[in-house]
Symmetry: C2
Subunit: 483 residues, 2 copies
């Protein structure tokens, strides 16, 4: 008892990080496994987070003149086979549609019928099918740049799955841009990486390292892959978003050609870039604590939960009205507020709020109501931040408090990341670091990458090169364990 | 020549309505057929319309306490087989996933590999998979009502497809609500029908008849299906949205049980309700004219397009800045404005704007700039509405103009609908109406429905009972051709 009884999540992070992760998701009611192999159900609280993330990021890309569109779910086999590296990368994990109806067999059992002449795969990503459209839509240099994006589901048949982090079906956005020159495509891949960095750092409070993937870690068919890498609390990396400079690989396999200003016919240069519901897993493993989830205020489903504390002779109707009025005042300032009027007990409501990671919890009882006051507690600081003030005081400063929570969460995660990157001057030193079970990444000279010794250490400790940080001008490689 | 040369769309509605429809979509650049059988590509201009529709309707259902979530794309065969009517309704048009990877055969050709023990179908609708979750989530009367919705893609393998109206894959929302009593479920099905009516009439300017489907036209597995039926300009009906009272059919097949307040265990009552990208087809066939699309202002991708009219010695930079400034002033009032700075000629820009159906076209040339004026033309009224006024005048009244366009479009469509419903006292009269090739619906006494003579007339002219209008208390049936 004692220490353990004081955490809402069992086990704690230290006891069993993977199991703690599952329990946080369950306690916050964000998602669960489905009866379909490897596919998850995103529950309303998890989906509300995703909606907020979508809204913010969608606004960011629209400012960059990206247009949303929608392309077919199914991809003809001959499309996906067009780019050799691409098919190598995705063939092993495709859901394949082979029939178009069901029919009862002699035993009355439903079986597939109506075999298709050519099977389709459910999109694992859409470079090939969007490339086919671009080949028709891009005719002249005047049609460029063309920037398209779709928010959709994709499917990769994963054998070992984990909620949000790795599921057979997941939700994402995939951007596909097309340019007249190699320089523009490279600049765009870097711009989208920077847009991802801004999004995850400023809104999700996830500090990241921006870098380029080593060639063995590139997207299948890319000339270069740029990544943002976050560090989880167990020291493992999470690839949080990637943007690919595809050069002319896909424009050649898809036939995306245009007439240049000088009249010549040229192949275009394309990029693609994506972030997914996997980011939610990254937020949980970065921000969660032993009491559950902590939602970054800027994308939290609710930024504030007001709990009316009903005791023996409290006038519930009056107290609910008091809470509703406070909620209304905050909502008028654009704050997302929920009033918890469920039949749960007050402790259950409070713990529910903590486990869901609502940034600010507000409690109002008869005493507060009579005094025109509220009591509020920050999720990031816990009970020590408990404070009672007037309603107007809180309404006036709630946005400032939320901003401060956001900053605090980012700074905590940033300090963690910065403190767990270790420069190592040799592979022996790197080996020693991981042999000791240290938490974090090693940074080594990029000349050491790819040697037999490098590969041996990576194999021994299940390490992968995470990226060559942009800040080091490609001279260094970060190495670590990863999700 | 002559008359024909004056319409932007060839053929006209009168000449060939189905082909006119395809040409309107093409001219407005809204969608196109894809290389995947029966699947469409929704292009940016069409998708922007869908996004606006989603945003409005999503706001409406959130006010009704509906929570968005996300369920798997794939449905196990044994799930879909649970409800007998349901499987009868959907088995003939399911995309079936049977394998989970690709592999090169001896000829180097990619073929499906990794056969699944149990195949999956791509969801044609999600009653069964959501029902499975509800069975776990609903335990007590306190968990009810539960109202869930998802925005997603679904697939029904259609043999004859048409952009937006009937495609193998389409986008939609599907709501799934669950209640403790039959009365609540019935009231909910009617509430969602009414919400659809409000959405399509007030935002899409589509007048509809609200009614109940006759039993042969019900959703497979429903006790009652409520519908909103719109009338296209060729007099055919379009089912624009449906809500189903599923009674206990799906709660029994999925095992959605709860402990009632009296301690007894009971099966819940469910509803489901959906609208889709098909509505876009309905908007085109209701509002389009021989010059192309007409977008209802409340959901139009752009409500206003400003065309800078550049002539010989016009200072283009200055004129663009003038146009941008006007756009900015309107945007500050929440108006969606585009400034057309493309390299197209002025006539091409003007006709492009007309074909895309932008509600208000604003033209500014050197003369307007010098006078601080603008010239504007309404899409619904055409050149007769051309007017020149000061910038501040237009900025002040643009919202009123847009509202007036919205009302005018609705009223036009409403007059069309109201004038083309004909009460017939016998099936002989109904037969005569359709034999003459008249445009519209016949309304007959519901006692005539389902008789041999009724079925014979329906077969002869490809008619279907559209609905029993709520306004007639179920005593009448509307009959017509339909999309």
């Amino acid at each position: 008892m004692g220490k353990k009884a004081r955490t809402a999540i069992t086990p704690t992070r230290e006891e069993n990080f993977p199991e703690w992760y599952q329990q946080v998701i369950k306690s916050a009611d964000m998602a669960e496994n489905s009866p379909v192999r490897g596919c998850m159900i995103i529950k309303p609280y998890g989906y509300a987070l995703w909606e907020n993330m979508q809204q913010v990021f969608d606004g960011m890309i629209k400012k960059l003149d990206v247009k949303n569109a929608y392309f077919p779910l199914l991809i003809p086999l001959n499309f996906i086979a067009k780019e050799a590296d691409h098919i190598d990368g995705f063939a092993k994990e495709c859901a394949v549609v082979t029939h178009h109806r069901l029919e009862a067999n002699d035993d009355g059992k439903l079986v597939p019928a109506g075999e298709l002449e050519e099977p389709y795969v459910i999109r694992p990503t859409s470079e090939t099918i969007i490339g086919d459209s671009m080949a028709r839509w891009v005719q002249s240099y005047r049609d460029l740049p063309m920037k398209l994006n779709q928010w959709c589901n994709v499917m990769r048949w994963e054998m070992r799955t984990r909620l949000f982090l790795r599921t057979s079906e997941f939700l994402w956005q995939e951007g596909h841009n097309c340019f007249a020159t190699a320089e523009e495509a490279r600049a765009d891949a870097l711009l989208m990486q920077e847009t991802y960095r801004e999004f995850v750092e400023d809104y999700l409070a996830l500090p990241v390292i921006t870098g380029e993937k080593t060639e063995d870690e590139r997207f299948p068919g890319a000339d270069a892959t740029f990544t943002i890498e976050a560090m989880m609390q167990d020291g493992k990396a999470l690839q949080a978003g990637t943007s690919h400079d595809l050069g002319q690989n896909f424009s050649k396999s898809s036939g995306i050609k245009f007439q240049a200003q000088d009249g010549s016919e040229q192949h275009a240069y394309t990029t693609s870039w994506g972030i997914s519901t996997r980011l939610i897993g990254g937020m949980i493993m970065t921000h969660g604590d032993d009491d559950g989830m902590r939602m970054p205020p800027r994308v939290a489903p609710y930024q504030v939960t007001i709990i009316p504390v009903v005791k023996g002779d409290t006038d519930e109707t009056k107290l609910f009205a008091y809470a509703d009025d406070i909620a209304m005042q905050m909502r008028a300032n654009g704050v997302r507020v929920e009033v918890d009027k469920t039949a749960e007990s007050t402790p259950n409501k409070m713990w529910g709020c903590i486990k869901k990671g609502v940034p600010l919890r507000v409690e109002v009882g008869a005493r507060e109501m009579d005094a025109g006051e509220v009591t509020h507690v920050r999720r990031d600081l816990g009970r020590d931040s408990k404070e009672t003030c007037s309603v107007s005081d809180l309404v006036g400063k709630v946005q400032t408090i939320l901003d401060d929570i956001q900053d605090n969460m980012y700074n905590q995660a940033k300090a963690f990341l910065d403190n767990r990157i270790f420069e190592k001057s040799s592979l022996a030193e790197m080996r020693e670091f991981f042999a000791k079970g240290e938490v974090g990444y090693c940074k080594i000279d990029s000349a050491l990458w790819g040697t037999d010794e490098f590969n041996a250490v990576c194999d021994e400790f299940s390490l992968t090169p995470r990226c060559m940080p942009l800040a080091d001008g490609g001279q260094k490689v970060l190495v670590g364990k990863a999700y």
